[in-house]
Symmetry: D2
Subunit: 244 residues, 4 copies
């Protein structure tokens, strides 16, 4: 039997403590809603938050994590650089990483991308329609032509990211913008998936299609234990004839 995929959902978990409107939507925190929404046979889920020691991301936790899901917004700067380095290292070794919504500005995402990860935004609760542009991609499995979210924060292009390895979703916004909403990357042995929706004041993480996409992302990003690259000084594999 295949071993379960071990997921850790990381949440900044500040809005929910400080803002009644957010708490009404996510009484136990965004991370609990996501964890609840993606838990299923073959997937073990735990959570971690900013204010835990080491942000809940000790070496032990990361070593037991196959896929890390990241939600942060107002306190990116409070995430310690040493923890960011540790997460990056684990991604390069094969841990999957799913970055949600405002996590586009997290230290870990910017570090893995190498760009500013800037974008345009507007918060008026407009309609978003997330179109599938690569229906052959496993992350789009079970999704129809698009996912509609009645009220969301708008993110607009230009989104300053490297060209995605694969572009799975593009969002339409009522106010006139588009956005590359579902982007995949390989980084070292690890797989990274950025997925746009999820402003803290909307019940987006209860939407079955949104949860389906995140669950698909977990399956896609879970590490394999196959090809192992080697980096070092190396002896010749063939007899060299041209040496001076």
């Amino acid at each position: 039997m295949k071993p379960a995929i071990r997921v850790t959902v990381w949440n900044e978990f500040l809005h929910e403590k400080e803002n009644e409107a957010v708490r009404r939507v996510y009484p136990l925190g965004l991370h609990q809603a996501i964890a609840e929404g993606i838990r299923q046979e073959g997937v073990e889920v735990r959570t971690a938050t900013l204010e835990e020691p080491e942000h809940g991301l000790t070496e032990e936790v990361l070593n037991e994590t196959d896929v890390l899901i990241w939600w942060g917004h107002k306190a990116h700067g409070r995430v310690e650089d040493a923890i960011v380095d540790r997460v990056q290292e684990r991604v390069l070794q094969g841990m999957g990483l799913i970055v949600l919504h405002s996590g586009h500005y997290s230290k870990i995402f910017k570090k893995l991308m190498g760009t500013s990860c800037s974008l345009k935004w507007r918060e008026v609760g407009e309609k978003e329609r997330i179109w599938v542009v690569d229906p052959a991609h496993p992350i789009a499995e079970g999704i129809g032509q698009y996912v509609e979210i009645p009220h969301e924060e708008m993110y607009g292009e230009h989104f300053d990211i490297p060209k995605p390895d694969e572009l799975v979703f593009v969002s339409w916004f009522e106010g006139g913008e588009v956005f590359r909403s579902g982007c995949t990357y390989h980084r070292g042995l690890g797989k990274v998936f950025y997925f746009r929706p999820g402003h803290e004041t909307y019940p987006t993480y209860y939407n079955p299609d949104v949860l389906r996409v995140i669950s698909n992302g977990v399956q896609w990003a879970a590490p394999r234990h196959g090809a192992t690259p080697v980096y070092h000084h190396t002896l010749p594999l063939e007899e060299i004839r041209s040496t001076k």
Copy 2:
């Protein structure tokens, strides 16, 4: 329980009938060696060959095929255009396609690529080393740094194909050439994987690493039943305000 993946291995099956040297290596045909090598729990394998009616690729067979594996060499021109169109249609609807070695010049591969699919070649039985360049890719799972094949036909760049969606393997040849040996593409709802090795006079399709790669390819290319694109004239989703 997940339903089994249904694979059809298609082989031209002429060399084996006409050439004693080939028959010694593949007494029952290349297709039987491949079928035998990839059969495992969760994978059902059948075969089809050129000289069967409709080349063994009736509508019924294709409709019951999740992944089609293609080996052809000297008789690409004898494959009927109607059958090629049928295979293309099934790929666009989601059937996976794995094209091996000299299948680079098959009608179906050229039709899906849109280019000449030309390359350089040399048959002197030189050494090939197939390096993994994307160790995060599921098709490289379980492979070390490279697969070594002691004697193979050489294929060299330039290989006139569209830029691969993903480049998984690059081959080194003893005689001085390189080749993009493992290339993936999405075409419609279908996934296509080209994998280079397998000249008919070498026992390449008994090599456990080569079989592992083909098996990985089967898992990767097997169709999902998710996002279903719709193509048609469509009514507005939003009320249009700018109409003249």
Copy 3:
């Protein structure tokens, strides 16, 4: 001094003859408006149309064409296969090709793509906004954040094309859809650029930004005379040691 880039604008040229509303917008034909709009120092432009002998695309014309621009809509089936093959051959040898709007369904585009090139559409004259998603791309040079077209036909995803080598533009439509509007590909030695806007009943090809993009596309697609691939049987470059 650099030699001029020689452009041929090909137009089906049927709507303009048969439909008064179209003729009012493009009295001399779409091809003349485009030719006029992109003519500048260093760019020589001629035109060709469906009903000319060999559709105006004789071997001589194609041999003297650096970049071919293609607009067709209602008579794709009337383009002779032999001419399509001739154009494909020239693209693989290095001629640039810019496919506009309904040319997505032309024989030549489908042949170079290998997919159905299907899409969704709606003709109610809604607003289109073409966003730049790759501002570093030379085809976006001189364009602001987006190009706005007050009235256009809608094209919506899923657009059944291979993953673009580069995605330069994404369109937003008032009625609720998005579309990958500016897509580049290499095919052999040739460069292909698909650009979405240009329904025959709207004055889109007088829009300075649209003309700027097409002009940029001409510069980008114009052939170089550099690396020349060779495809043939080849002798070993290195002494082979592993031959049986």
Copy 4:
């Protein structure tokens, strides 16, 4: 008349001072050989080195640089982080960057890539053959099928970089390895080109084909002054109807 492209060639410039064998090959430093080799009409070249104040990369110098070429090897750690940040900022604003050989391990390249940029290596002076795999790419202009370098350091896969936007060259090495030798990326408004050859003890930067590739890279990476992305909070472009 088009303004000249302003190039700054940056070199660590330590080997040449400390090692007689290197000095014999590059008496004035690698940077002077490269500068000399790429200087031509329309290209102005200056140099900068590690031990100059601010490593020769003051704000003024960078503001007047269209394309920065980077060679470093043994003292990556001595490059100040503030200067690295400054270079990254300029790349995101549109400055081109060409990273040569051992520059794969420079702070600026690793920062723009987000990965370890590790690889395998061996220094025995073996033969390298750099094959063109994308002959339509402007960086390959004027190059034949491959560039041969009789004696070079080997770099082998796996090279831990993000998937290149475009893969232009792949190297073959006599000792049995392959390497993705010519890789392009967009980062923000800037273009990045990694090119492999150039160990300090070999006269690689006098090779006309190598200089041709670097010159092509300069032309390709030189900034355009076109599409200017905007990142900020933004007002709706369309009247929003769905607001709660």
